[in-house]
């Protein structure tokens, strides 16, 4: 069941001015309940604008949509949503706990529940010991953690994370990835905007790519990163014994010392080649469907679009 539906959403900033900017152009997509959805795109591609339209922070020039079944910008539905904006700015005169209390009150959490949730989310993001420290004294990573805690306070059904690991160290990034997976396992729908493609690849179920305001690709990570039906076989042993045969069958391979890496066009050919390797006494180390990394795929499609 889709929890986010965007139908032909477009956004033009300053539409009547000479400097009109078409930030989003006819974007339609759906995000299913309980999935981690990654929205990718270069800077200025319209990722943040898309989230802002969904949350009613900005208004669409045309098109429509729903979040959790409510029309875009509905105030009531925001009680069921969490949001971590990019470059969030919290009141610097408040400490971590006060920030959470303030935003918890705005979300409409009742006082006792709010106390409990503050303890829980601070623990979840590893900020318990910094709860009484003023926000202005936090490092970038700590700010990000408090931002995440704020987005989790109301146990949202859908959470929007705009660059959630921005400024966080590798260990912290891993913890955030684990947290996001944990949220998904509990049934929360997670919508991520990120530049860190390797991270998105690690955790997302589906991704979409925005470029110059247009949706240019959408699908599961696996379907987008799959490189046709090609398979890659790696083996080691007497590699010279198979080279002639492979050349005769016009199969691509690469030899490095005792190790050979072979690319075959399909699964059937992969089985033939693996039989050949075994018959010549080579040990097969791996045989897997060849994939691009999400980053390779992303760069390729962006370059294709720009041509």
């Amino acid at each position: 069941m889709p929890v986010i539906i965007a139908s032909s959403l477009s956004k033009t900033y300053s539409p009547k001015s000479r400097h009109a900017v078409r930030a989003l152009d006819n974007v339609s997509l759906q995000v299913q309940a309980g999935e981690i959805f990654g929205l990718l795109g270069p800077n200025g591609s319209g990722k943040t604008t898309f989230i802002k339209l969904l949350l009613g922070i900005a208004f669409p020039t045309s098109g429509s949509g729903t979040v959790l079944g409510e029309p875009l910008g509905s105030t009531d539905v925001k009680a069921r949503i969490g949001y971590l904006p990019e470059n969030h700015r919290y009141p610097p005169y408040l400490n971590g706990e006060q920030i959470l209390r303030f935003f918890g009150k705005l979300t409409g959490l009742e006082s006792r529940l709010l106390d409990r949730r503050i303890d829980e989310v601070l623990k979840q993001v590893g900020m318990e010991q910094w709860r009484k420290v003023k926000f202005r004294k936090y490092s970038k990573g700590m700010m990000q953690r408090i931002g995440l805690a704020q987005a989790l306070l109301n146990q949202p059904e859908v959470i929007f994370l705009d660059e959630p690991t921005d400024g966080v160290d590798p260990l912290g990034r891993k913890e955030i990835r684990e947290l996001i997976k944990h949220l998904r396992d509990r049934g929360t729908t997670v919508f991520i905007n990120s530049h860190l493609l390797s991270e998105v690849e690690m955790i997302s179920d589906r991704v979409a790519i925005l470029h110059k305001g247009k949706l240019i690709r959408e699908g599961t990570v696996e379907s987008l990163t799959k490189d046709g039906d090609q398979w890659e076989i790696t083996a080691h042993g007497d590699v010279h014994s198979v080279q002639m045969d492979l050349e005769a069958r016009s199969i691509h391979f690469h030899v490095e010392k005792e190790r050979i890496t072979i690319i075959v066009p399909d699964l059937q050919e992969a089985n033939h080649v693996s039989d050949l390797l075994r018959s010549r006494g080579l040990l097969i180390e791996s045989m897997q469907q060849k994939k691009h990394s999400l980053e390779d795929f992303f760069i390729k499609v962006i370059q294709d679009e720009d041509r």
Binding site: F59, D76, Y83, P85, Y90, P91, Y93, K105, T107, Q150
Partner: protein, 273 residues
Amino acid sequence: MKLLAIIEDTIRESIAKKTMIGFFAISNVILLIMLLIALFSDFDINVKLQGMEQFSNGASPLETLVRTMEVMIANLLYMAAIFLSIFATASIMPNTLEKGAIDLLLSKPVSRSTILAGKLIGGTLIVFFNVAYYIIGMWLIISFRTGYWDSGFLLTIFPITFAFVVLYVFLLFIGVTTRSSALGIILTYGFLIILAPLLAKREVFLYAISSSETYRGFVDVLYYLLPKPDDISSLMNNVILHSEINWMPVWSSAAFAGVLYGLTQYIFNRKDF
């Protein structure tokens, strides 16, 4: 509860700014000086005022002295409080609308009208408390020392706060439309220092420029449309002196603030962030 949270945050933000603390500290210093004078001056005020009846237009000399003192104090406070308060509150709306801050507020189940109302009420309350603290403190000191208790001076809390609110609405408008606190301060000070006094004394200054009926009509329209801080100051003096009060400056300034607040809300409701 949501409105209260925004009011509380606005008050915290104002307190975090040193200007309001400075305002409060200056109030305390002046109150302390007045208290010391009241405690350690050993002259009998009634003796000093003997034979002064001819200068007090039928009122008792003590009453005239106290009310004159109160008028002077209220006028000083009126200008100081409004200038400092504008300086301290001008950044409230632009700060709220900063990228990263407004996104967070608008992602919560809070209407834009609640956000704007919270900013208005929060800014007003902090100024009200500061003014009330000073006026009540001063009133207690003067009344204890002279033995003349008159509530007129206490009522000046309201015209001072009212004048601030009208100008604060203008600051909110500038904040929402331009997100600039500097422009808000410049325009408000410019209005307070130049335009408002000229309009209040338009018969003396502005009418002298031209005898054209159209021009004078235009000046009159401006006068009636815009807030009247100078006339509200005169009204405040009349409250202290128990003189007749002309309410026109109050309702016309309130109408200006009301319309401008509505316009600010309209723009804020339709603005992209």
